[in-house]
């Protein structure tokens, strides 16, 4: 068994008075894809935001690659190789694709290295290469998601947090995004994936956690979760 690259222990997060995470704990092992599932408002995005330091945890402990990152500022966490692709893609409209990618490589000081990584990203997403000097707001939803992932790859992440990459995409594009994530994972990137589209996520993931009102109510390997009848009824709509 590979070692845990990310570990959460009894993590609690508040937004003001609202108790958004009520003590969650799980781990992500090196090389895995772990899916975080659940309905709207269950705390999936908050979990990712807490891990990447965008919101502070009130209690509990987050460990990344053996280092306690619970109180670390977001930019330091990113520099350690834990990169978060936030919900809604958040690409920089009005900037070209190339400028968007350069944000991902912001902490890479060498321009040559940035160029090499850009070329690697273009090789992975040829659609972006064709339009590298075009305004990113002209991309379709699926292409914007590709750009958001490519931007994160510029930082050579050890662990990639993906928040709802399939949101608002046509089924055929959802498949393409999922294939992309599998490719990344096979190339060695560990992925923590938040999805509403549980069926698609479980096809891809090794392991899954199901959240409900700020708690993890079910954990298990992806195959057993996909076979779980109660879960299938609640989240897969079948």
């Amino acid at each position: 068994m590979s070692e845990a690259v990310l570990q959460l222990q009894d993590v609690e997060t508040y937004y003001g008075q609202i108790h958004a995470l009520r003590g969650i704990g799980f781990e992500v092992r090196e090389g895995q894809v772990v899916a975080l599932l659940g309905a709207n408002g269950a705390g999936k995005s908050t979990s990712l935001r807490t891990i990447s330091g965008l919101v502070p945890a009130r209690r509990g402990k987050v460990t990344f690659a053996g280092q306690d990152i619970t109180r670390m500022p977001a930019h330091r966490i990113a520099q350690l190789g834990l990169v978060h692709v936030p919900e809604g893609r958040r690409i920089f409209k009005g900037m070209t694709i190339e400028e968007n990618l350069d944000l991902g490589g912001f902490c890479v000081l060498s321009a040559d290295e940035r160029r090499r990584r850009r070329e690697a990203a273009y090789a992975m997403f040829p659609i972006l290469a064709e339009r590298r000097h075009r305004d990113s707001s002209l991309l379709s939803g699926g292409e914007q998601q590709m750009l958001a992932i490519a931007r994160a790859l510029m930082a050579k992440p050890r662990l990639l947090l993906l928040d709802e990459p399939s949101m608002g995409l046509a089924p055929i594009l959802v498949q393409e995004i999922m294939r992309t994530i599998r490719r990344l994972n096979e190339a060695g990137t560990t992925v923590l994936l938040v999805e509403q589209n549980a069926r698609a996520a479980l096809r891809l993931a090794h392991y899954g956690c199901v959240m409900e009102t700020g708690r993890i109510v079910l954990k298990g390997d992806a195959a057993s979760l996909a076979a779980n009848e109660a879960l299938t009824k609640a989240y897969l709509g079948a």
Partner: protein, 315 residues
Amino acid sequence: MSTAIAARAARSPRGMVLSAVLILAALAIPLFANGYALEVLSEAWFYVLLCLGLNIVVGFAGLLDLGYAAFFAVGAYTAGLVTLKLGLSFWFSLPLAVIAASIAGVIIGGPTLRLRSDYLAIVTLGFGEMVRIAVRNLAVTGGASGLVGISRPYLFGYKLDTIGSYYYIFLALALLAVAASHRLENSRIGRAWKYVRSDEDAARAMGINHAAVKLSAYMLGAIFASIGGCFYAAKMTAIAPETFNFNQSLLILLGVVLGGRGKIPGVMLGAIVVVVAPEVFRDIGSMRMLVFALSLLLIMLLRPAGIWPERWRWG
């Protein structure tokens, strides 16, 4: 970076020629202009410097600042205190003003890091008023009457005591501000400002230290105003707290927004308009400020992103 700038300049030779012609024209103006025109134009160059400084904060980094005159005051009072109270040469006030402005920039930037839009506006407004009220009530800054009798500096043996000399001083400062703004905009920190301005969370999640990025914008913006303030004190030889009131902050912000925040030539144009337009309308007497206000309204209605906006989309 300089290669990138050179490459872009080479791509637009027309821009280069136009800039050269404008600079030569600006250099030649004192040969035939009268004292009044020189006075107005010196002030215009001075506002180009101030507006470009505020543009770092408001334009590049996207942070609202309604108390920018405070940094101008920091520079002016540094020059006043250095020459009058310490008895040192005016030129010592420049490095001290840079240090004082950096500290003031951190004082305003630090507590406001988490604030956005309206809240940030209120706190910066409060900061501007605090500085003005402080210098008004401190004995060392001369209270309400301010500091009088600041000595004129010497440059290469020449005493800077004519309007012509200050015209060239402020023109040089404005050109330096343009060059510095260009370098900053295309630097690593300049890109970081734009990323943080567009989406702070996405920028943080990619490893950008948003606190350092915002503080550097406040500090650099403050340094522009404070250097301007030193020379303002030298030119006027007397400074008083009321020069640095809220209206002053607002006028500088007006130049930035009117011209097109984030766009260097736009901001220069805006600065010149806010200084020169009220003078152009001087003949119409008491209606002057009304006409000025109406023309500002018209510009903002017809060109909501400024006279010469940035390519960038806001929001």
